[in-house]
């Protein structure tokens, strides 16, 4: 019964945001609803781990370990992004009158859309219907579109247009994949059946493999567009860099993972009838290409938010490679990579948001002396960067090591070596700009000191998780990961 409020809380919060009188109300409602979602998500996860799966609202809602894992990522980054938004927007809009007129309207729009965006993403992992899943993914694009274009600059509008056009084509292809998946079971279940995971789960081995093959291809290209896999990633760097930083964190840390979750679901659906070779081959191809393209663009990147965006392409590529290598170790690594990336990347976008507010530029070479001006932000930025590039002892180090081990063990040494090389190049090229931003002489006209305690609080909470995940994968999380691996068919 936890799943129903989990979905309705952010929907109700979005409606409330349209009517409440002032800024404080908007902030409290958004923060309250996202924290409630996190609480409900944790409680639902506990129940899923204990009971195997949850169902609610008749045939509509369904959650197993894989859903719960995705749910936790969404709810956690959602809650920290809500807290961070308060600090970020207070500073960002301090020159405007936010208590009436245009300023308040803008703020109202931001918080209402924030809640709708969260709602649409939360629907993805708990939806039992493949059709509703598709609708929710399309919903995420529409909800986040006007958050991406929030600043209404020429660049932001261009990014929004590219985002919606590329995203919609991807989504259309995924629709075809969904139709084909529906059709693949017609021989077993008849022409009209409920298109849900729970109905399909018992008959996965009897699905028509040749239709499933086509379905998976369309799903991978379609949802892969939203997951930021190359070469369909073209919208991603623009949208991530032009959006306000809390939204960048949500896009990168959460939205990509919900799309990846959908791909994983279809992977679990397709493999029993289709075998592992075909889906894994596709995932490996897209994964390596994403990693390669991310490396090339990171090499010459001059804008630090775009740098972070290409790093998202890199990490989604690594997740795809992890699934392709497969086995308990590869799948475990892929899922852990999703979590590790979500927390480290949201921390990085939070920190970079503070840098944007202080330096008023996104150019790497125009930022220097960050540690002196904003010591706390600077330290978090460097810890986030180390965690993100897979330095020990952080979570991504463990997940990348698992994925590489899985690759070598499954006899795909060439692919594993390619991944290792590219990750090593990124490690070096990613830390260099961080170094130049953190140290050196700051412009003397810039005031020193942290910008917002609220935002720092959100960053500190995220930091605890970034460090915590490196020291240990706690037992309940480890159990959840193992159960998710089992959902994906990873247990021998």
């Amino acid at each position: 019964m936890l799943l129903i409020p989990l979905i309705f809380v952010p929907a109700a919060a979005a409606l409330l945001c349209l009517i409440v009188p002032g800024r404080l109300w908007l902030e409290l409602i958004t923060l309250g609803s996202s924290i409630a979602c996190l609480g409900l998500g944790i409680a639902a996860t506990a129940q899923v781990v204990a009971a195997g799966h949850l169902e609610a609202l008749g045939v509509w809602l369904y959650a197993d370990a894989l859903s719960a894992l995705t749910l936790l990522i969404i709810a956690f980054v959602g809650a920290t992004a809500a807290l961070y938004s308060i600090g970020y927007l207070r500073e960002d809009m301090k020159a405007q009158d936010v208590h009436r007129g245009a300023g308040l309207r803008e703020l109202r729009r931001y918080y209402a859309l924030f809640n709708i965006f969260l709602f649409s993403m939360l629907v993805v992992p708990v939806s039992n219907s493949l059709g509703v899943l598709w609708i929710a993914i399309e919903g995420t694009t529409l909800a986040s579109l006007f958050l991406v274009s929030f600043y209404r600059t020429r660049e932001a509008l261009e990014a929004a247009w590219k985002y919606v056009i590329v995203g919609s084509v991807g989504i259309a292809l995924a629709l075809f994949g969904t139709i084909l998946a529906y059709y693949s079971a017609v021989q077993v279940l008849g022409t009209s059946y409920d298109l849900t995971w729970s109905v399909l789960a018992p008959v996965t081995a009897q699905l028509n493999p040749s239709i499933m093959r086509l379905a998976f291809l369309f799903i991978l290209v379609g949802f892969g567009t939203k997951a930021g896999l190359a070469p369909m990633h073209t919208w991603l760097p623009d949208a991530h860099s032009e959006a306000p930083s809390p939204i960048s964190a949500l896009l990168s840390g959460v939205l990509l993972n919900t799309a990846m979750y959908s791909i994983l679901r279809y992977y679990a659906l397709a493999t029993p009838s289709l075998g592992r070779a075909y889906p894994s081959g596709l995932l490996l191809g897209f994964g390596l290409l994403s990693l390669l393209i991310a490396t090339l663009f990171i090499l010459k990147q001059r804008d630090y938010k775009r740098l972070l965006a290409y790093s998202s392409v890199e990490h989604m590529g690594i997740v795809a490679i992890g699934i392709a290598f497969g086995g308990p170790l590869g799948l475990f690594g892929a899922l852990l990579q999703m979590i590790g990336h979500a927390v480290a990347k949201s921390l990085m976008f939070f920190a970079s948001g503070m840098v944007v507010l202080r330096y008023e530029t996104k150019q790497i070479d125009r930022v220097a002396g960050l540690v002196k001006l904003m010591p706390a932000t600077g330290v978090m930025l460097i810890i986030g960067a180390l965690a993100l590039t897979g330095a020990p002892p952080f979570g991504i180090f463990i997940s990348e090591l698992s994925i590489l081990t899985a690759g070598f063990r499954s006899g795909q040494a060439a692919a594993a070596l390619a991944m290792l090389t590219l990750v090593a190049i990124i490690f070096i090229r990613f830390l260099r700009p961080m170094n130049s931003m953190l140290f050196g002489q700051a412009r003397i006209d810039l005031p020193s000191g942290e910008i917002s305690r609220t935002a720092l609080g959100a960053m500190a909470i995220t930091l605890i998780l970034v460090i915590g995940l490196g020291l240990t994968v706690p037992a309940p999380l480890s159990e959840l990961l193992n159960q998710s691996v089992a959902v994906l068919g990873g247990t021998p």
């Binding site: 219907s129 059709g131 509703v132 598709w134 609708i135 399309e138 919903g139 529409l142 579109l145 006007f146 274009s149 209404r152 600059t153 020429r154 660049e155 509008l157 261009e158 990014a159 929004a160 247009w161 590219k162 919606v164 056009i165 919609s168 084509v169 259309a172 629709l175 075809f176 969904t178 139709i179 529906y182 059709y183 017609v186 021989q187 022409t191 009209s192 059946y193 409920d194 298109l195 028509n208 040749s210 239709i211 086509l214 760097p237 623009d238 032009e242 663009f297 010459k300 990147q301 775009r306």
Partner: protein, 221 residues
């Protein structure tokens, strides 16, 4: 298993499929926004008729509902909204990066490609009907081509909607439709998408004073 298609229905479906192909060539030859919208309205009504014909011989009431809703949502509401948006963009002609004969030739090539490849993607022993699949695939390919070769935002939206119509007609002709609630969801989604896209076009128009995507060339690398 879906029931076999009666000959008379199959003939009607073939005619409707041909009409669908005509509408995309109409778009390829279009010089004014108005032509795109009329072609899209015709296309949507044709898709609705396909759903109704399939509904008749399968005895599925759901498909009649889908047909009626398709006409209301696509041919009436969406076309209406796009007319309003077009009205806010006075004097802007939809430009293409290619001239019209080249566009039409590429269109023909894409249709041939669709007809050549669609039997290949359907393995023997399955019961996908080749011609409907090829027509749907043609719509998808030409929709993609419209999106990549037309610079006006509304033309790109029409390209997107054409892709969607292709997939929708494919779902009806191949799998005899999806569960009703999913069809509702998809239609609702398309409607919301068009409203949102219309708002975005207006926003861009107000800030950049053009709906030509050639103006959107800032973000690279």
């Amino acid at each position: 298993m879906p029931s076999p298609v009666p000959t008379s229905a199959a003939q009607i479906l073939q005619v409707l499929g041909a009409v669908l192909l005509l509408t995309v060539f109409w778009m390829l030859a279009a010089r004014r926004l108005h032509d795109y919208l009329t072609a899209y309205a015709t296309q949507s009504v044709t898709v609705a008729l396909i759903a109704a014909v399939v509904g008749t011989f399968t005895g599925s009431v759901d498909l009649y509902v889908v047909a009626v809703l398709t006409v209301l949502v696509k041919a009436v509401a969406i076309v209406g909204i796009l007319h309003v948006v077009a009205g806010r963009l006075p004097g802007q002609r939809p430009r293409s990066v290619l001239n019209m004969p080249t566009s039409l030739l590429i269109g023909v090539a894409l249709v041939i490609l669709a007809f050549l490849t669609s039997p290949a993607v359907v393995a023997p022993g399955t019961f996908l009907n080749e011609p409907p699949l090829a027509v749907s695939l043609s719509l998808v390919l030409i929709g993609l081509f419209l999106m990549s070769s037309r610079r006006h935002m509304l033309s790109q939206i029409i390209g997107l909607l054409t892709i969607e119509n292709g997939l929708f007609s494919g779902a009806v002709a191949i799998a005899y439709g999806m569960p009703l609630i999913v069809e509702f969801g998809i239609l609702f989604d398309v409607l919301v998408a068009v409203i949102v896209l219309g708002l975005l076009v207006t926003l861009i128009q107000r800030n950049i004073v053009s709906a030509d995507t050639a103006e959107l060339r800032e973000l690279r690398g």
